[in-house]
């Protein structure tokens, strides 16, 4: 299991990196934390002609408050996210989701940008980004552009990134007062990729559900928003009947469920329903606790 030969470059700026991508024959690859890419190289499933290492670019590693949002540099490690007081206090959903990713040793290297760009159907971050309405900033030959998370994950393991573009920053809103959150998943073992997962956010005003967001991961090729469930919750009082209905919507929300030796499509859809039900209860309790 040794990687095939490739060329390597470690540019010092985003501009240099995009220039390298542009100059390459199209099968160059970016290297961030390597926690997804290195196994693919070792198995020779990835065969880039050139690896462009983002690790020497100084200004892609940060978590800061910017214009009322939390801005996270693409090369920020998951450990840095996990330890960020800003994220823990102002967007605890992201904090909790981070702790579900792999193990500390993976989080010490794996980056936020890498997880978004990898777009693994079972990954937590893409679903969290969709649920939060995050914005992804991309740098390319025509300068910078921003893409909504909802439009960033068109199909599994692919993104809206152009071949010579680099994801530079993820911007997430802060938690609204009076809102609750939950991220739950079921995996075969602690730290494994999820068989099914659900991200839930609930805003409760005067005892009624004022906003709802439900996004599933691990069950479908891309993160799935349970729009019917969200709509049905609005105006309801938080409680079992409303949550069970939303859970049923979640079970039906997936048009092409994934299936593998660990979990069939039917089982995954069932789990999605269970997790949404549990997640809504947890989110509601948190919303009530915080308001």
């Amino acid at each position: 299991m040794k990687p095939p030969p490739f060329a390597y470059a470690a540019p010092r700026s985003v501009a240099d990196a995009t220039a390298l991508l542009r100059a390459s024959d199209g099968d160059a690859k970016l290297l961030a934390g390597g926690q997804s890419l290195l196994p693919l190289l070792a198995m020779r499933l990835a065969r880039p002609s050139l690896l462009v290492d983002l690790g020497r670019i100084a200004d892609l590693d940060y978590v800061r408050e910017d214009d009322g949002m939390i801005a996270i540099g693409a090369m920020t490690t998951k450990t840095a996210v996990e330890r960020s007081a800003l994220i823990r206090t102002r967007q605890p959903l992201l904090h909790d989701a981070t702790r579900l990713i792999g193990h500390p040793q993976i989080r010490n290297r794996g980056t936020v940008g890498g997880s978004m760009a990898q777009a693994d159907p079972a990954a937590e971050y893409p679903a969290v980004a969709v649920a939060l309405g995050a914005t992804l900033r991309l740098a390319g030959e025509r300068g910078e552009r921003s893409v909504d998370a909802a439009a960033f994950f068109p199909s599994p393991f692919t993104t809206a990134l152009e071949p010579s573009e680099i994801l530079t920053e993820i911007r997430v809103p802060m938690r609204a007062a009076g809102s609750g959150w939950s991220v739950l998943e079921i995996a075969r073992r602690h730290g494994d990729f999820a068989l099914a997962g659900a991200v839930v956010m609930l805003g409760i005003e005067s005892g009624r559900i004022a906003s709802a967001r439900i996004v599933l991961f691990g069950v479908a090729p891309v993160p799935v928003r349970v729009s019917a469930g969200e709509a049905a919750l609005l105006g309801e009082s938080p409680g079992r009947p409303a949550f069970e209905h939303a859970a049923a919507c979640a079970r039906d929300a997936v048009s092409e469920p994934l299936s593998d030796p660990h979990a069939s499509a039917a089982y995954r859809c069932h789990l999605a329903g269970v997790l949404v039900g549990r997640g809504l209860a947890e989110a509601a309790a948190r919303a009530e606790g915080s308001s």
Binding site: M1, K2, P3, P4, P5, F6, A7, Y8, A9, A10, P11, R12, D16, L20, S24, L31, G34, Q35, L38, P39, L41, A42, M43, L50, L51, V52, D53, G55, R56, T79, G102, H103, P104, Q105, I106, N108, R109, R189, H190, G191
Partner: protein, 181 residues
């Protein structure tokens, strides 16, 4: 970390890299495709970092990079250019075991010993961050290390013992410093 040699120009040729491993500055040549674990084992002769899977799941290859645990099979050697690394060979010195190693011996925290160096380095990071971890915190931190022999019971005990001894040492040192000031 600054990288004195790493080339900004793309090349598949082997390149010269420099790093500090277990406190010793080393310089060697590595092909871009050489993983850090193969580099440590093959080029630097540090065979204590073991290879159990080469795809990031078993934890046998765990080392410290700038004090943090990483999987040396999931890094290229060139990525570590300029870095400060610690491997199992740097934990105890000259036959004197680090308290974490000693605790594993005392509590029978190993059988074949193949997974052990990786565990020891993760325990090192854990106890630096959290000198008095609960069993749940220990499990959480070591969940990415597979051991096929022990069934983990004695590993858990070893970590508890190491934590206790390190805390006691620290307290004794602090008391001594106070007394002598």
């Amino acid at each position: 970390m600054t990288s004195p040699f790493s080339d900004e120009k793309p090349s598949s040729a082997a390149r010269r890299i420099r790093m500090t491993v277990n406190g010793v500055a080393v310089e060697a040549v590595a092909e871009p495709r050489t993983t850090l674990v193969d580099f440590l084992r093959g080029d630097l002769g540090l065979g204590g970092t073991h290879v159990g899977c080469e795809h990031g799941v078993c934890g046998a290859c765990t080392i410290l990079l700038e004090g943090r645990t990483v999987r040396a099979c999931l890094m290229l050697a060139v990525q570590a250019d300029g870095a400060r690394l610690t491997t199992i060979e740097g934990l105890g010195r000259d036959g004197v075991l680090h308290p974490i190693q000693q605790a594993f011996v005392d509590e029978h925290g190993l059988q074949c010993g193949f997974c052990t160096p990786g565990f020891l380095l993760s325990v090192h990071e854990l106890l630096e961050q959290n000198p008095d971890p609960s069993d749940e915190e220990i499990r959480d931190f070591l969940g990415g290390h597979l051991c096929r022999c022990t069934g983990y019971k004695t590993i858990l005990r070893s970590v508890r013992l190491a934590a206790r001894r390190l805390r006691e040492t620290k307290a004794a040192v602090a008391a001594h410093a106070e007394a002598s000031s």
